[in-house]
Assembly symmetry: C2
Homo-oligomer: 326 residues x 2
């Protein structure tokens, strides 16, 4: 599916350039450290998935104004703020193929610049003058922090359920992507029905996106991924491929899996054993199939809009959320 | 001035109880860890200075509604969020006489629960339905994070100027207290003039409050203060008493002071030498006199309101901001 990415980038080129400009312009502060720390991660090859979805969502609702790019940065800043804080929370060392900001600049810097980005997101949201947009940002930030906290609490819990996993990824990932799409409709003043359709699209796309992220941690390699493969397991973070396989494994195999999970210093061979179990007990295919269901639902929601180039592109983005290498 | 505190508490009793209830009620989430971590610091004897100021500011503008207590918690949550993050930033070990939350629960927990409190503050601000309140919250959070970052950058800088110090404390402390007072007026729909008067009151009170905090770090003791005395210096954080004394000291004494400042492992004797220099070169008295000026300006602003019990109490709070032991 490599062609899909190129096709999307070809169609998205102009928008992505404008988003890039807006991301730089709205980051200005009197403190160089903010631009340095935020820029370290913000301009390290992010996909701009969230702001782009907001722009497209506004466009599919007929928005032709000038402020979509400006407001779209809210969602990249919020995303970046959580990355800065999460890398600290997870003791991550690599992000987007570079040393994680906290390891380069320090934990204090990562925390405070993350806080700044949260604050700047809010300030930009206020500039929309729309209380529903600001309300959505409030809900998203609450969801994201609660999702991260729930995930943190669940670390090392071998009995984490699929339901808990779904709740965590809904909050930590889908809420923001859903919010970006919804806010596109709100900025376009498109009415409740369209906002609801785009929320459904964004929610499902977000769920599929995170499931794919969690799959890539087992199926990709560090070079391609831009962060350490197997990192989730090293942190004791159980995701759906593991949760599902643990549930279906017999006692002997479950014991083998648990041994790897409990040992944060597992070897490559041990990691390969675990990956074998994920194949054997369907954890990979089950997660893939749930992600595919979400993509189908996202596209189905979108079919309420009449066919346009924008709709095509949004359909492609739904496909891309599960067919990507990083 | 010990009588002042008791007098204030006597008059404030009922309000403080309602604020306490609101602080508990609005913290509810489905995650126990949030209540535990936030509660660890939130219910450890905080003065509730900021929410109380918002309540009084609303009242002095004639507000008689029911929502002032609910909305006032915004300012305590914001304050608590920054305490959680700052203790991590500063590697603090004690806060409000207890082990700092990050040392009890971990850095990850402190960061994420701080994020949650920021998010919850925003959500409550949205519930006011007033875009000016939300705008103020956006400005406050931007200011606070930039103030903290500026302070972090300045750590160990022996040439930090008084102007930079003023800018840092304005952002990190005065902005929130000013915002609490301003939002009281906004909630009371009291008009621009009263909002501006209360902003002036809050700004000056906030500046005096932080200068006093910085003085207490040299003049109090750990037991009374509930956090480590001399902590600022240990972290390389130069505050006005030191900045002013360094500027006025002759080369030999400056050298002695610098030796203590540069050595984060300074002994009690060395700390006493430095304190002697702060007396000798007027750093203590200069800071006290600037703080007193700010208190005078705060009270002067307030004199635009007609004399009432509320105004008396707010005058007392201005005095209290500099006449306190912790």
């Amino acid at each position: 599916m490599k062609g899909l990415k190129e096709k999307i980038i070809g169609l998205a080129d102009e928008d992505l350039l404008s988003i890039e400009t807006a991301l730089k312009k709205n980051l200005i502060t009197y403190l160089d450290l903010v631009s340095d720390v935020a820029g370290h991660i913000l301009f390290a090859g992010g996909k701009r998935f969230r702001p782009f979805l907001m722009v497209l969502s506004a466009r599919i609702c007929g928005y032709t104004g000038e402020y979509d790019k400006t407001f779209s940065v809210i969602f990249e800043y919020l995303h970046t703020a959580t990355l800065l804080h999460d890398d600290l929370v997870d003791d991550a060392t690599i992000r987007r193929g570079k040393a994680a900001a906290n390891t380069v600049y320090g934990n204090a810097e990562a925390v405070l610049v993350g806080d700044f980005l949260l604050a700047r997101s809010l300030s930009i949201a206020v500039r929309t003058g729309k209380i529903e947009v600001i309300e959505a940002i409030g809900e998203i930030t609450e969801d994201m922090s609660q999702g991260e906290i729930h995930q943190l609490i669940g670390k090392g819990n071998l009995n984490l359920t699929e339901e808990e996993y779904m709740d965590v990824i809904r909050r930590k990932t889908a809420a923001l992507i859903m919010g970006a799409c919804k806010c596109g409709a709100l900025i376009a003043e498109a009415g409740k029905e369209k906002a609801s359709i785009l929320s459904t699209y964004g929610y499902n796309l977000g769920m599929a996106f995170q499931m794919t992220d969690d799959l890539l941690d087992y199926t990709s390699d560090t070079g391609t991924l831009g962060k350490a493969v197997g990192a989730d397991l090293k942190e004791g973070k159980l995701t759906l491929p593991v949760i599902h396989s643990l549930k279906n494994a017999g006692p002997a195999d479950r014991k083998k899996m648990e041994a790897v999970i409990k040992n944060s210093e597992f070897s490559i061979d041990e990691f390969d054993i675990l990956k074998g179990m994920l194949e054997k007990y369907g954890g990979i295919s089950y997660t893939e199939s749930l992600a595919a269901d979400h993509v189908a639902k996202a596209k189905e929601a979108l079919s309420a809009f009449k066919p346009t180039e924008t709709r095509d592109l949004m359909m492609m983005l739904a496909d891309y959320s599960v067919n990507r290498e990083s």
